[in-house]
């Protein structure tokens, strides 16, 4: 199939960027979206042009690095998948595809479609961990945990930190990410011990980095490739009130 791609190109963090149009004439519907970009890059290299820079690593939906904003959606128009899982069969012959980097002040563009997501790491370093020395794995059933709690904790722990929630939110809010990181610990007895400090520090860091405020719009939940629910945000709010 034939596609017109409008891709954001930007030399570096300081340069002014702009959209460049590329014509792709032989895209197979069996291709993955990233393979389609690989094909375009191969062509660009052969033509002695600068290839398009985009983040990717595992290409199996677990590292969270492949975020890009495709036709008005983070990770493209198909729900609950990362860009690397997006297939070209979801596009129509002759379609124009807009490909943009995440847009948020705390996620500055480094180059083309790559943004700097260190802001998420900074939030994690502020408290998204349990500070004990890890020894050997203890017997799992020593501390009883309600099935529902362990399920919910696991469901929030699947967050891959890709940043789609921030990209989707009209306020560029990081609340879904932070709420997932808070919830995965808040629901488990091991996580309760530092719960108070954790939520205080992580929210403080989130605010400091310039993310917007959650207005309960729900775009994050609709776009999250890991289907993290906004009920986590209500839990984050509760944890925050409890901490003060």
């Amino acid at each position: 199939m034939k596609l017109t791609l409008k891709i954001w190109r930007q030399k570096n963090a300081k340069a002014a960027g702009g959209f460049v149009t590329y014509q792709m004439n032989d895209v197979s519907p069996e291709m993955a979206f990233l393979e389609m970009l690989d094909a375009l890059n191969k062509k660009l290299v052969e033509e002695d042009k600068e290839p398009i820079a985009f983040d990717h690593d595992c290409r199996e939906g677990i590292c969270g690095s492949c975020g890009m904003y495709i036709n008005g959606h983070p990770h493209g128009p198909v729900p609950a998948i990362t860009t690397c899982h997006l297939s070209m069969r979801f596009f129509k012959d002759g379609e124009t595809v807009w490909i943009e980097p995440w847009r948020a002040k705390p996620f500055p563009v480094i180059r083309d479609l790559i943004v700097d997501r260190t802001a998420f790491d900074k939030i994690q370093f502020a408290g998204g961990f349990i500070s004990i020395n890890t020894g050997g794995a203890p017997e799992a059933n020593l501390i009883p945990v309600k099935k529902e709690d362990s399920d919910n904790a696991f469901d929030s722990a699947v967050c891959v930190g890709c940043g789609a929630c921030v990209a989707a939110c009209k306020n560029a809010s990081a609340m879904l990410f932070v709420s997932a990181k808070i919830s995965q610990f808040a629901l488990l007895p091991q996580g309760r011990i530092e719960a108070r400090d954790r939520v205080r520090s992580m929210v403080e860091k989130m605010d400091e980095l310039g993310f917007g405020n959650c207005s309960n719009t729900g775009a994050c939940e609709a776009e999250c490739p890991k289907e993290i629910k906004i009920s986590n945000i209500a839990r984050l709010n509760r944890e925050f009130y409890k901490a003060y």
Binding site: K6, W8, F19, Y69, I70, N71, G72, H73, P74, P77, W98, E100, R103, A104, K105, P106, A168, K170, N171, A172, S173, R200, V203, E204, M206, D207, G210, F211, G212, N213, C214, S215, N216, T217, G218, A219, A222, E223, I230, S231, I233, A234, R235, L236, N237, R238, F240, Y241, Y244
Partner: protein, 214 residues
């Protein structure tokens, strides 16, 4: 201490509480307004007189004004922070599925606030003597206003917008307060829908009846 005061979640907490307070005030105002439909001006005038003079109500009036100010100023502040958080927008637009009215809260809010200013000029400023008029005769003043077609159009538009604002606001406040529940959240959403239709409709019914049927 300053950390909790300036935290984003605290500001939203305050906004949500203020909003819920305003939500409880609307039915009271509506109950009094509905007395305008009686051809006898006495009940309405008595109620208006009571609201203007009873000490506890006067205290509540101050609380109400403070609440409006807090809700509005925090709303504007948070909105500006939100705009600043995305300096460059998306060329391909945003097609994410969202709760529809949540996207326009600042604009529906601004519309309601504009109406409130008009409302103050029409009534409250008369009551405190800033604008001339008879504060003991709000019944006639209201009836007079509802004869002006332009006023009725503005009134009906503003109250529809109020409904849009309330629909998102109601359930959103609960989420912000951390009150999310498998069973109760859908109930809150249903109540929000009913409330955001009934209250504005109740207000709108008054000019419609006075304008078309009297």
């Amino acid at each position: 201490m300053s950390k909790v005061v300036f935290a984003s979640i605290s500001k939203k907490f305050t906004m949500a509480l203020a909003g819920l307070f305003l939500i409880t005030f609307l039915p009271v105002h509506l109950a009094i307004n509905l007395m305008l439909l009686k051809s006898d001006p006495v009940p309405f005038t008595q109620a208006a007189h009571f609201m203007a003079t009873f000490p506890l109500v006067k205290i509540m009036e101050l609380v109400l004004f403070a609440t409006i100010l807090i809700h509005v100023s925090y709303g504007i502040y948070l909105q500006i922070v939100n705009w600043l958080a995305r300096p460059v927008g998306y060329a391909g637009g945003s097609k994410s599925e969202t709760s529809f009215f949540s996207r326009f809260m600042i604009w529906t809010g601004a519309t309601i606030f504009t109406f409130l200013v008009l409302h103050f000029f029409n009534f409250y400023f008369v009551k405190i003597g800033l604008v001339k008029g008879d504060p003991e005769n709000f019944y006639a003043m209201a009836h007079g206003l509802f004869k002006v077609p332009a006023y009725n159009y503005i009134y009906l538009i503003c109250f529809s917008v109020l409904g849009f604002h309330l629909y998102h606001a109601f359930s959103s406040a609960f989420q912000t307060l951390g009150l999310n529940h498998r069973i109760w959240t859908p109930v809150v959403k249903t109540v929000a829908l009913i409330y955001s239709i009934i209250i504005p409709a109740g207000f709108a019914v008054i000019p419609i009846i006075l304008w078309f049927f009297r």
